[in-house]
């Protein structure tokens, strides 16, 4: 079956072409075309995975272009990592295809949406089976294009247009790093093949500084794609796209491509302590940075977006701590629970018609299924014991600790506390309390939307058990071909992780849940002393002035850094280019004399330079 792996990306591609040409006539049926294509992809991918479990890596390639002695090849490869990614991508894509049928119902460009989804899925699947850097780069750009088209899907909204542009250009900035790193590797190694690059790293053809330089340059590409600091600003803006897109592209798959790239090139990174440290520090910083911003956002999708940035930071931290297994494990569980959270958020937005959490509330009663599923996702991401996020995050903590990153470990723990807090702040504000929205007939979403969420919820719970210290480290053993040695982690670590996440939830409950609960509690026990009430007030103040204030200050600080320093530099560059452009067009005044003068001045300058520097005088 593995030799047929190349066929997996072709089904969505076929769906793309079909819908592009005949979509207008097919209308609603477009959804079935897309679903069928991705479902077949999923089936084939599963078969490939099953085949790979018992077998070994399969690789097929052909010479595509020969320049001198250098040969560029195209082909595909089925490694443990690739096969695993194929299944995750095709599965999430299928579920999102299904969900979107309900969510996008009645949209004028329904079929176009499915066509773009097909294009994206094709590119993403193509990306994960590429056996060399060049091919990876091409698909890497293609997923960028798919993302651009889908963010800008509501192109009549100014914000959506701006966001699409921003996403494309910001990620391109990272891609320049990737590109340069790739070229440098090619010039040193003479090949784009992953296997050749690893060989060169091993036998020392690649000098140590070069390993570090190329690894960091390629990491810059990953930073752009995976929304790591400082190139993350496009990701929250990308939420202008339809919610299913946010779930598929900006949570589960494309943004994880950066993590995947670093994992795929892991032997390169392992050879350089500096590169690993860079990855770890950027990841750790992003994790806490984004989590702190998520604490104060009021747009449901933006909270989730910053959360995604933060979780990707975790994965980078894992990679930087030398554990690609932990990163891929978290990538997997995150794909499931974050997709679930986004789809649930979409279900809420679909029902209420707003994204502002201040205008929601009390939806638990109206949308019990969505609320329950969201709760599962929130519990999983918060790292509550026995759910998938607990195990994968624990693996990351362990990796950071065992690799001697004490500071980063504690940063990750604090970020985990933030995570639990903002997720449940979201939960209580949206589903708990009284209704604050004006929408009249709020009701549960149709089955076509809840069913995919249900599947994801099951996976959000179960996916943790593929790799646990209790039942066996199946994923790790398999990804490393049996060579996975689970390091004995201190047992207090799991307890700390559990306590921190529960503490975060508890705090959120106190601040956002308890207020309503307390009122009930008070009205039933009216004769309670004044003291208790005062005490309660005191606690609120306490939280506001300690945790709340500090967190607020930190997040505000980061927000301003984000707003003025990062965006300032970006706008400075744009302004310079714009000014130069204006100057250039003003020079172009239509006067032939000016044109002639420019030529003569140019010539005179060249001659003068020649005279002074050429050594002829």
């Amino acid at each position: 079956m593995m030799e047929m792996a190349w066929i997996v990306p072709l089904f969505p591609l076929f769906s793309f072409f079909l819908l592009l040409l005949a979509g207008k006539k097919m209308k609603e049926a477009s959804a079935y075309v897309g679903m069928l294509a991705t479902f077949v992809s999923f089936l084939v991918a599963s078969a490939v995975l099953a085949d790979r479990v018992g077998g070994s890596t399969y690789k097929a390639e052909q010479v595509w272009l020969a320049i001198g002695s250098a040969k560029l090849t195209v082909g595909f490869e089925v490694t443990a990592l690739n096969a695993w990614m194929l299944v995750i991508v095709s599965l999430v894509s299928f579920l999102v295809h299904m969900y979107a049928k309900g969510y996008m119902q009645g949209d004028e460009r329904f079929s176009v949406f499915y066509a773009y989804l097909g294009l994206f899925t094709f590119a993403m699947l193509g990306l994960v089976i590429s056996p060399n850097l060049l091919q990876t780069y091409m698909f890497w750009e293609l997923v960028g294009l798919g993302s651009f088209l889908l963010i800008g899907f509501y192109f009549y909204k100014e914000e959506a247009k701006a966001a699409a542009k921003k996403a494309f250009i910001m990620t391109r900035v990272g891609d320049v790093g990737f590109f340069i790193g790739m070229i440098l590797l090619f010039l040193q190694v003479g090949s784009f093949e992953y296997s050749d690059i690893f060989k060169a790293v091993q036998d020392g053809t690649l000098s140590q500084p070069m390993v570090t330089l190329t690894a960091i340059l390629i990491f810059v590409g990953a930073v752009g794609k995976s929304g790591q600091f400082p190139l993350h600003t496009w990701l929250p803006d990308a939420m202008e796209g339809p919610t299913p897109v946010s779930a598929l592209i900006h949570a589960a798959t494309m943004v994880a491509a950066g993590v995947y790239l670093v994992a795929a090139l892991f032997p390169l990174y392992e050879a350089s302590e500096t590169a690993l440290l860079t990855v770890a520090v950027v990841g750790g910083f992003t994790a806490i940075f984004a989590a702190s911003i998520a604490l104060v956002q009021t747009d449901i999708k933006r909270v989730l977006a910053y959360s995604t940035v933060s979780q990707l930071g975790y994965m980078m931290l894992a990679l930087g701590s030398g554990s690609d297994v932990a990163a891929i494990f978290h990538l997997t569980t995150h794909a499931f629970f974050k997709a679930l959270l986004f789809l649930a958020a979409g279900s809420v937005i679909h029902a209420v018609g707003t994204q502002d959490i201040e205008k929601m509330g009390g939806l638990w009663r109206k949308m019990p299924l969505t609320a329950a599923l969201f709760l599962v996702g929130a519990l999983a991401i918060s790292g509550v014991p026995l759910l998938s996020g607990f195990f994968s995050k624990d693996e990351i903590f362990a990796a950071a600790w065992m690799h001697g990153h004490g500071v980063l470990f504690w940063i990750a723990v604090v970020a985990s506390f933030f995570t639990a807090f903002y997720m449940f702040r979201l939960f209580f504000l949206v589903f708990g309390g009284e209704e604050r929205h004006g929408a009249k007939d709020v009701h549960e979403s149709p089955a076509v939307m809840t069913l995919p969420m249900l599947v994801l919820a099951v996976l959000s719970v179960a996916a943790g058990y593929i790799h646990t210290p209790w039942f066996g480290t199946f994923l790790g053993d398999w990804l490393t071909d049996g060579g996975y040695a689970h390091e004995k982690t201190p047992s207090w670590m799991m307890i700390v992780a559990a306590i921190v996440s529960l503490l975060g939830i508890f705090l959120a409950w106190l601040m956002y849940g308890k207020r309503s609960l307390a009122r009930d509690w008070l009205s039933s026990r009216a004769p309670l002393t004044y003291n208790v009430l005062l005490n309660k007030y005191y606690i609120d103040e306490f939280y506001a002035w300690t945790v709340g204030y500090v967190a607020n200050a930190i997040s505000r600080l980061f927000y301003y850094v984000d707003r003025f320093v990062i965006e300032g530099i970006a706008s400075l560059i744009t302004a310079t280019v714009n000014a130069a452009a204006s100057l250039g067009s003003r020079m172009q005044n239509g006067q032939v004399q000016t044109y002639g003068a420019v030529t003569f001045i140019g010539l005179a300058l060249l001659v003068a330079i020649l005279a002074f520097t050429g050594g002829y005088l």
Binding site: L20, L21, V63, W64, L65, A66, I67, G68, Y137, M138, E141, L142, L145, L149, G152, F155, Y156, K161, K165, F168, I169, R172, V173, V176, F179, I180, I183, L187, V577, N578, A580, A581, S582, G584, S585, M587, Q588, G590, V592, T594, Y595, G596, V598, T599, I601, G602, L603, L606, V607, I609, L610, A611, G614, G615, Y616, L617
Partner: protein
């Protein structure tokens, strides 16, 4: 020269030129004798057939050995063959554009359109094959003068007249500079034959002479910069491109530019590669001038791409884009790697395909309203999805996105710049940075096509000539983007143009 020697020359190597000249003569006679009220559009088809036959004849000449006739003034070598194929293909596409060119006020001198274009094409072909400064100059002027008239062919349009006048004046300056440079070379070497010049130039070891030779290099390069529209001789481009009829604009941006690069390569490499230079690098004059070319290439890429950002007129935008692309090609020349000519040829091929495709669609979009504002493209996707996708392909290729010929072309130039020892890292960095800038304006058009509502909802019909161009160019752009090996396999038979200096 006796009659006997004249007849002994292998005239066969000039077959393509003879075919073009014959077709042009026949067309001018037909145009003269045809009644005034007859439609002259079919003449373009005759011209097209002539060019097609010349193309086939050139392919037939590929196996021919490197030949030099007429006292070494005309030489047919691999370089000439390869570039003639590009020129003829470009000429054929220009004629197809001309066939479907329908300006609002009508076109009175349609007959001239065809045979002037053939004359210009003939000039360009002579240029690629000339072995002597005199023939080279005559070919260059034939190309230039025909182009001047072509630009002003819409006699009633003020814009066209202005463009033609500007083109003539700037062309005059260019010719003066080029001739000035040539006169220095003649003065130093005492001959006009390029090969003999190269031999004589090797003997110039005196510093004073070398200085004059270097001056001649700069004069030639700046003078010829007019033809390839690079800094500092690029200013005329947007004005002329905008005023000229669209088929002529396409002709100038592709055929004329290709011919310009052919002269630059043939003249500068042959003469200056062997000439010694003073200073730190005594090996060759050409290498010592490398930094100047690199500097001008960088300036060209920056100017072209940055000023393009401000354009609303599609023709002006494509004019700046053509300046930028000339800059990328110059990077290939400045790097002077051993794949230089291969990569430049491939770039010009990719450029021919994507540019003609874009111009064909532009012509269709602008003719109907006599406006080439970028907003003409708004909502093209709704009006004609297939046309929008084709335009998308051309834009992606111009921007250099993987999967298109434009990417491979840029990639080769880029690799060439890094392959040499020492690598041209700064130049490569400028190339990448300006490419990123170019995304902004190319994707601006993209946004118009796909994301803006259409001003008109009428569906678009593409006339036969334009359809042919769009289909051929789109397929070519994708084909060479996916399997560039085809073009390289074809180039393989020229063996890296090894006979260039023989």
């Amino acid at each position: 020269m006796s009659m006997h020697t004249l007849l002994r020359y292998e005239w066969g190597v000039m077959t393509p030129e003879f075919i073009i000249i014959g077709t042009a003569l026949i067309l001018s006679l037909v145009d003269l004798l045809m009644p005034d009220d007859k439609d002259r559009r079919p003449l373009a088809w005759i011209a097209f057939v002539g060019v097609a036959i010349a193309f086939v004849a050139t392919i037939g000449l590929i196996p021919a050995e490197t030949t030099s006739i007429l006292h070494d003034t005309f030489r047919l070598d691999a370089f000439g063959k390869a570039f003639k194929l590009l020129l003829l293909a470009g000429g054929a596409l220009s004629l197809l554009l001309a066939f479907d060119y329908r300006p609002k006020e009508g076109l009175k001198h349609r007959g001239e359109f065809s045979y002037l274009m053939l004359c210009a094409l003939l000039g360009a072909m002579i240029v690629t094959s000339s072995g002597d400064l005199i023939t080279l100059f005559v070919g260059l002027e034939l190309l230039s003068i025909s182009s001047y008239i072509l630009v002003g062919l819409r006699k009633t349009s003020v814009q066209a007249n202005e463009a033609a006048l500007k083109y003539v004046i700037n062309g005059g300056i260019s010719t003066a500079m080029t001739l000035f440079g040539m006169s220095y070379i003649f003065g130093l070497t005492g001959t006009t034959n390029i090969k003999e010049i190269a031999v004589e130039a090797q003997k110039l070891t005196d510093g004073e002479y070398q200085y004059i030779l270097a001056l001649a290099f700069l004069l030639l390069f700046v003078g010829l910069a007019f033809k390839i529209s690079t800094v500092p001789f690029h200013m005329w481009t947007p004005d002329v491109y905008q005023g000229a009829p669209t088929p002529v604009t396409a002709f100038l941006s592709v055929v004329s530019k290709t011919a310009g690069f052919a002269i630059v390569l043939r003249l500068l490499i042959t003469i200056f590669a062997a000439a010694p230079a003073r200073g730190k690098d005594t090996s060759s004059m050409l290498l010592s001038m490398q930094d100047y070319i690199a500097f001008l290439a960088g300036a060209t890429m920056i100017v072209g791409n940055i000023v393009a950002l401000k354009q609303r007129s599609m023709k002006r935008l494509l004019a700046y884009s053509s300046i930028a692309h000339a800059g990328y090609v110059l990077v290939g020349f400045a790097a002077m790697s051993w794949v230089m000519i291969d990569s430049i040829w491939f770039y010009l091929l990719a450029y021919l395909l994507m540019n003609f495709g874009a111009f064909a669609i532009l012509q269709r979009m602008s003719d109907e309203a006599d406006s080439d504002d970028i907003s003409r493209f708004a909502g093209l996707y709704q009006r004609s999805p297939l046309l929008a996708v084709a335009m998308g392909v051309f834009l992606l290729s111009l921007a250099g996105i993987p999967g298109t010929a434009g990417f491979i072309a840029k990639w080769n130039i880029f690799l060439g710049a890094l392959m040499t020892e020492p690598g041209h890292y700064v130049l490569a960095a400028v190339m990448i940075a300006t490419t990123v800038i170019s995304y902004v304006y190319y994707f601006g058009i993209f946004v118009q096509i796909f994301f803006r509502p259409a001003a008109e909802t009428s569906s678009l019909r593409l006339p036969i000539g334009l359809t042919l161009i769009v289909v051929v160019c789109a397929l070519g752009t994708l084909l060479f983007g996916v399997v560039p090996g085809l073009a390289y396999h074809f180039l393989g038979q020229f063996e890296h143009f090894g006979d260039f200096l023989q």
